[in-house]
């Protein structure tokens, strides 16, 4: 805003599909999505702008620090139902997941579940913030949210001994992340290009980094889908 005082950018929320649809129908100049395009959504230009880690979160009073990928998968398929099966206290596990179609959920399914279905009895919340709020209030709950949104009300879990952080994503140790996309239809108009160039510039990427995201420029291979 200090750098570009003249231009006005109107931002509207509504989820990834709303972002994709609004650029398809021409309602918006630039669409934003936290999920990759489906086969019937092709024909848009995809511009990755940042990488977002996905963290598994627990209530701070849950003594567990680390779980293996296999344990997490067994928890989310409903095979493991009590924290004592993975070395925790004798509490019934309360699973929290995101709704079908969510970018975070589809990334979680691909990266963690690898084809297995999430237990249908899991609590479904429709935003990262709502998931975090449930976990913050329930000592027996587990959920997953954007790494950038983890705060001190919840605790991020190490997976296979690796702490989720920008550094571990950058050195390819932490594998659970997805891309944030800008979408344009056809050729970019000059104002669109100006905005996209700003977001991809070092100033723009620094802003994203301050919000807890990993700049796309920093990741080798980040421009191809995970």
């Amino acid at each position: 805003m200090q750098l570009n005082k003249v231009d006005v950018v109107n931002v509207q929320g509504g989820g990834s599909s709303a972002g994709i649809k609004s650029v398809e129908t021409g309602t918006a100049n630039i669409g934003m999505s936290s999920r990759e395009l489906t086969p019937d959504e092709q024909g848009l230009t995809v511009i990755p702008i940042a990488i977002d880690g996905i963290a598994l979160i627990l209530h701070p009073s849950n003594p567990l620090q680390n779980l293996s990928l296999a344990q997490i998968r067994d928890i989310y398929t409903g095979k493991i139902k009590n924290w004592d099966s993975v070395g925790g206290p004798n509490w019934q596990i309360h699973l929290v997941t995101r709704e079908e179609g969510s970018g975070t959920r589809s990334a979680f399914s691909d990266l963690v579940m690898s084809g297995s279905q999430i237990y249908p009895g899991a609590i479904v919340q429709d935003s990262n913030g709502a998931v975090r709020q449930v976990i913050a209030g329930d000592k027996a709950a587990i959920g997953y949210i954007s790494l950038g949104l983890v705060d001190n009300e919840v605790k991020a879990l190490n997976i296979d001994g690796i702490t989720p952080s920008k550094d571990t994503i950058l050195n390819h140790d932490y594998k659970f992340w997805r891309r944030f996309l800008f979408l344009v239809k056809g050729q970019e108009t000059p104002p669109e290009k100006q905005f996209i160039d700003f977001v991809l510039s070092s100033d723009g990427q620094a802003l994203l980094s301050r919000e807890g995201l990993v700049p796309i420029s920093a990741v080798s291979g980040g421009t191809s889908s995970p």
Binding site: G15, E99, E100, G101, V134, G137, D138, A141
Partner: protein
């Protein structure tokens, strides 16, 4: 000239009246046109009685949501109907005038509170209460039902109150003259006589409960599984649309419209029952 004025006013009013019906028709046609392709692709039986909802795998079964809607509504009615009936009887027959002048506006306020406020209150107070004292994750049919019960109270109370008030005074006078007590008059004469109005009140309250979305999204847990107890999380037809709308596209979005068709049919049936009940004497 006067004739022209009269005719044009008549036409303008007719046009306005028709436009409200036209918007209803447009919405209905749109929902049906969007939703029917998915139902015919999956098959009506698989759609209505399938227990698996996984749009990413092309599975569209809404039985858990139908069961969710029915159970949340029934538990809400179990809580709301006795409370509301007692309240209506109290207001009509027993309440001192000054008390009624406090209670009645208070109930109207209850009707005016936005549903998201009810949901937020439930999320902050009812959900942790259930988790700490009754067990389970707290997000549950019971939490949703308590919220819905409070939300349906004003509807049921005011319509039941009107029905009781509409009874001819001669009924009550005759009954009391025969030597019955006030209690006997209320239970064996006034409630049965106002039966049709009370039924309409309950059915309209039911419609309100089935249609409510925002408040229940926040406290119900929205799990897509057949609930085993009222302490389990569940998902209703409305919350299925509300929670997945933001990210749905293509066939998934059509399936949400198809959920809307089922909801529309249920509410139309409930409304016709209410009208039928209200007309019957």
């Amino acid at each position: 000239m006067i004739d022209f004025k009269e005719k044009s006013t008549e036409l303008a009013l007719l046009f306005l009246a028709l436009s409200s019906i036209a918007s209803l028709a447009l919405i209905t046609i749109f929902i049906i046109a969007e939703g029917v392709p998915v139902i015919s692709k999956v098959g009506i039986i698989n759609f209505l009685f399938g227990t698996e909802w996984a749009p990413s795998l092309g599975k569209y079964g809404i039985l858990p949501m139908i069961v969710g809607s029915i159970s949340v509504t029934l538990v809400a009615l179990v809580i709301a109907v006795p409370t509301a009936l007692c309240c209506a009887i109290f207001l009509v027959e027993l309440s001192p005038r000054f008390l009624a002048s406090i209670v009645r506006p208070a109930i109207q306020v209850l009707a005016g509170i936005p549903s998201v406020v009810y949901g937020f209150w439930g999320l902050i107070f009812i959900v942790p209460f259930i988790r700490n004292y009754l067990g389970g994750p707290g997000f549950s049919i019971l939490a949703g039902s308590i919220i819905l019960a409070i939300m349906t109270l004003p509807t049921i109370i005011s319509i039941a109150e009107d029905a009781l008030r509409a009874l001819p005074p001669s009924y009550k006078e005759g009954s009391l003259a025969l030597g019955t007590t006030q209690w006997q008059t209320i239970v064996s004469l006034q409630i049965p006589a106002a039966r049709s109005g009370i039924t309409a009140a309950i059915v309209l309250g039911m419609g309100r409960a089935i249609g409510e979305t925002m408040a229940v999204i926040m406290v119900l847990g929205n799990a897509v599984a057949l609930p085993k107890s009222i302490l389990d999380p569940a998902r209703t037809l409305t919350t299925n649309i509300g929670i997945e709308m933001g990210y749905a596209s293509g066939e998934h979005q059509q399936a949400l419209f198809a959920t809307g068709i089922v909801l529309l049919i249920i509410i139309m049936i409930l409304n016709s029952i209410a009208q039928y009940a209200a007309r019957r004497r």
